[in-house]
C-alpha cells in the first residue's frame, strides 16, 4: 500500500442474512490529510462501511488496511475516532462525565484534557446539565468530542449534520475544517446532504446500493459538474478526430458512448454539423450543466440502470 493512503479497502463486503448485501466489493482509497466524502442515499451502505473499518462490524469478505500506524490492527483502531449513527452518550450523565468514561478507557484521567475537548466543541458551559437534555446539535458535538479523545489520526463522521439547524451546521462545518487543517486529522464524512459535503470534502466516493459507483477528487468532480457539451453516440472514437480538427482541447472521453467538451459551449450547432458532415450519427448532442446533486442523481441513476 502506498504511503499516500491512510486507509485502503479491498473488496470489502457485508451481507446480513442470506438476502441483504449491504456492501458489495467496496474499494476505497483514503489519502492522508483528506476530507473524504461518502455520498449516498439512506440505506446505500455508508454506515455499514464505516462500521467495518472501525472494527464495529465484521466484514463478510474483503479486507481493509491502515497505513502509518505502528503495531497491530488493534493499535490502528486506537488511532481512529468515530461518531457513527447517533452519539453513544449516557443521557443521565453530564457532558463531562460522558467524556471522562471515554478518557478513562484510553488511560486519560486529566481534568484539563476533558475540559479542553469540551471547549473545542463549545460545550464548556454545560455544567451539570444532563446529556439527555441536550439539543440534537449539542449531542452531536458531544459525540465529536468523544470521538476526538485519544487524539485520533482518522475521524469517521456518519451523517454528523443530520437534524442540525443552519447555525449548527455552519459551526460543525467550521469545526471539521479546523480539525483537518490544524490537527491534520484525516476525516471520512458521510452525508446525503451533498451541498454541505461539497463545501468540505477534498475527495469523494459515490455509493449506491452497496457499491462504489465512482471515486474522485474534488477537482475531478468539479470538472464533471462543469457546464459542458455532452455528445452521445454509438461509437465516439470516430468523433474524436473531428473534435481535434476543430481545435477543441478541453474535452474528455467518458466512455465508448459519451464525450464531454468543456469549452466553446455556444458552438454546439456548428459542431453537430461537422460530425454529421463526416457521416456519423449522434444519439444526442446538447449542453448540460449540473451541480453535485444533479451529478449524483445522474451517476446513481446510471448505476441503477446497469444493475437492472
Amino acid at each position: 500500500m502506498s504511503d499516500e493512503f491512510l486507509l485502503v479497502t479491498e473488496n470489502l463486503s457485508k451481507r446480513y442474512g442470506k438476502n441483504v448485501l449491504a456492501v458489495d466489493n467496496v474499494n476505497l482509497h483514503i489519502k492522508k490529510g483528506a476530507i473524504y466524502g461518502l455520498i449516498g442515499r439512506n440505506g446505500a451502505g455508508k454506515t455499514t462501511i464505516m462500521k467495518m473499518i472501525s472494527g464495529m462490524a465484521i466484514p463478510t469478505s474483503g479486507s481493509y488496511t491502515y497505513s502509518g500506524f505502528n503495531g497491530t490492527a488493534e493499535e490502528a483502531l486506537g488511532r481512529v475516532g468515530a461518531l457513527i449513527e447517533s452519539p453513544a452518550i449516557h443521557p443521565k450523565m453530564t457532558a463531562y462525565d460522558n467524556l471522562k468514561i471515554k478518557c478513562l478507557a484510553y488511560g486519560i484521567g486529566d481534568k484539563a484534557y476533558i475540559n479542553e475537548k469540551l471547549k473545542l466543541v463549545g460545550l464548556e458551559n454545560t455544567g451539570k446539565k444532563k446529556a439527555g437534555k441536550f439539543s440534537l446539535g449539542m449531542k452531536q458535538r458531544l459525540g465529536i468530542a468523544m470521538a476526538l479523545v485519544g487524539e485520533p489520526d482518522f475521524l469517521l463522521l456518519d451523517e454528523p449534520i443530520n437534524g442540525l439547524d443552519p447555525q449548527g451546521i455552519v459551526e460543525l462545518r467550521e469545526l471539521i475544517a479546523r480539525l483537518n487543517a490544524e490537527k491534520g486529522i484525516t476525516i471520512l464524512i458521510s452525508s446525503h446532504i451533498l451541498e454541505e459535503l461539497a463545501k468540505l470534502a477534498t475527495d469523494y466516493a459515490i455509493i449506491d446500493k452497496g457499491r462504489i459507483v465512482e471515486e474522485s477528487t474534488k477537482e475531478e468532480l468539479k470538472m464533471k459538474c462543469r457546464d459542458k457539451i455532452v455528445i452521445k453516440a454509438a461509437d465516439t472514437s470516430a468523433i474524436v478526430p473531428i473534435i481535434d480538427s476543430k481545435g477543441y482541447t478541453d474535452y474528455q472521453v467518458i466512455s465508448n458512448n459519451t464525450i464531454y467538451i468543456f469549452e466553446r459551449l455556444d458552438e454546439v450547432a456548428a459542431l453537430n454539423m461537422e460530425i454529421a458532415k463526416a457521416g456519423i450519427l449522434v444519439d444526442s448532442i446538447n449542453v448540460e450543466s449540473s451541480d453535485l446533486e444533479e451529478y449524483f442523481l445522474m451517476v446513481t441513476g446510471t448505476a441503477a440502470g446497469v444493475q437492472n
Partner: protein
C-alpha cells in the same frame, strides 16, 4: 488496557444512582429482618425458637421462615370458639418489642440468614441488568471498542467490575447485619471463627456467579428488561417448580436416580450452604460456580466473535 477499561466501568458505576439506592434497600431489608427476628417479642409471635430452627435447618429460606412466623402470629392471636382470645389469661410478657426469637443469636448466624434470604440476588439482578442494559441502550461500546479493538478485554473489565460491586454488596449485607444485631440483638459476636470466613467467601462466589448469569442474559438478549426479569425470576425461585418437574421426569421416566438438577442451581447451592457444609458440598458448590463462569465466558467470547457491535 484491562485496567483502563475497568477504571472506566467503575467510574460509570459510580455515576449510576442504582449503585447507591440498591445497597440502601439491602440495608433496610437486613434491618427489618433483624427487627423481626431479634427485636419483636417472641411471645407476641407465638412460635418457639426450636420450631424456627427446624424450619431453618430444613434448607428453606428466610421467606419460608417468615411464613412460619406469620402462622405463629395467627396462632398467637387466635380466637377460640367461645370468643375469648387464646392465651389471654397467661401472664407472659406480650409487649410488641422485646427479646425476639433470635435475640441471643450470633452475628454470623444472622449473616447466614440474610444471605439465605436471596434478597441480595434480587437486588444485584437489578443492578447488573441496569449496568449491562446501558451498554446496549447507549451503544457505548462504539466508543470503547476503538480504544483497543479487543471486545474480550471489555468483557473481562465488565466481569471484574461486576465482581467488585458484588463484593461491595456482600460487605454491605455484612455491615448491615452487624448493625442490625447491634441494635436489636443481645450482642455482636462471632462464634464460627474461620468457618465464617469460608462461608463469606463461598457465598460471595455463588452470588458473583449469579450476577454473571444475569450479565450473560443482558448481553445475549441486548436487553435491560430481559436481564432484570430473568434475574428476578431466578432469585425469586419461580423456576423451582419447573426444575422440580424436570427432576421428576429424569428420575421417573428416564430412570436416572442420581441426577438432581435442583441441587446444582446457584440459588439452591446458596440455600443449602451453611457453616456445617461438608467438604463434598463445598466442592460441589465450587464446581457449579466454575461451570457457570466458564460457560458465561465462552458464550461471551463466541458472541464477541460473531456479533457486530451495533
Amino acid at each position: 488496557m484491562l485496567m483502563n477499561f475497568t477504571k472506566s466501568e467503575l467510574f460509570r458505576v459510580s455515576r449510576m444512582k442504582s449503585a447507591y439506592v440498591l445497597p440502601i434497600i439491602m440495608i433496610i431489608t437486613v434491618m427489618f429482618t433483624s427487627l423481626m427476628y431479634m427485636g419483636v417479642n417472641k411471645n407476641v409471635i407465638g412460635i418457639e425458637e426450636e420450631d424456627l430452627d427446624n424450619v431453618s435447618s430444613s434448607g428453606l429460606t428466610v421467606d419460608d421462615m417468615s411464613d412460619s412466623v406469620e402462622l405463629g402470629f395467627n396462632a398467637g392471636s387466635g380466637i377460640s370458639e367461645d370468643g375469648t382470645v387464646e392465651g389471654e389469661d397467661e401472664e407472659e410478657d406480650k409487649s410488641f418489642f422485646g427479646e425476639g426469637l433470635w435475640y441471643n443469636r450470633s452475628t454470623d448466624f444472622m449473616f447466614y440468614a440474610n444471605v439465605k434470604g436471596l434478597d441480595a440476588l434480587l437486588l444485584l439482578s437489578i443492578f447488573v441488568g441496569l449496568f449491562c442494559g446501558a451498554i446496549h441502550n447507549t451503544g457505548m461500546d462504539k466508543n470503547n471498542l476503538l480504544a483497543s479493538g479487543h471486545k474480550n478485554t471489555l468483557y473481562a473489565a465488565r466481569a471484574i467490575t461486576i465482581g467488585l460491586y458484588t463484593l461491595f454488596f456482600h460487605f454491605v449485607t455484612f455491615a448491615a447485619t452487624i448493625l442490625g444485631v447491634a441494635i436489636f440483638g443481645k450482642s455482636v459476636r462471632f462464634v464460627e471463627g474461620i468457618g465464617f470466613v469460608k462461608y463469606f467467601v463461598l457465598s460471595f462466589i455463588l452470588t458473583y456467579a449469579f450476577s454473571m448469569v444475569i450479565m450473560l442474559v443482558g448481553t445475549f438478549l441486548k436487553s435491560q428488561a430481559a436481564a432484570i426479569t430473568v434475574g428476578i425470576i431466578l432469585a425469586a425461585g419461580v423456576l423451582t417448580v419447573l426444575i422440580s418437574f424436570i427432576d421428576l421426569f429424569i428420575k421417573k421416566v428416564l430412570k436416572l436416580e442420581k441426577i438432581n438438577l435442583a441441587n446444582v442451581t446457584l440459588t439452591q447451592r446458596l440455600s443449602l450452604l451453611n457453616y456445617n457444609s461438608s467438604t463434598a458440598s463445598i466442592i460441589r458448590t465450587l464446581l457449579v460456580c466454575a461451570v457457570v463462569f466458564t460457560v458465561v465466558t465462552l458464550v461471551h467470547v463466541f458472541i464477541n466473535r460473531k456479533r457486530d457491535l451495533c
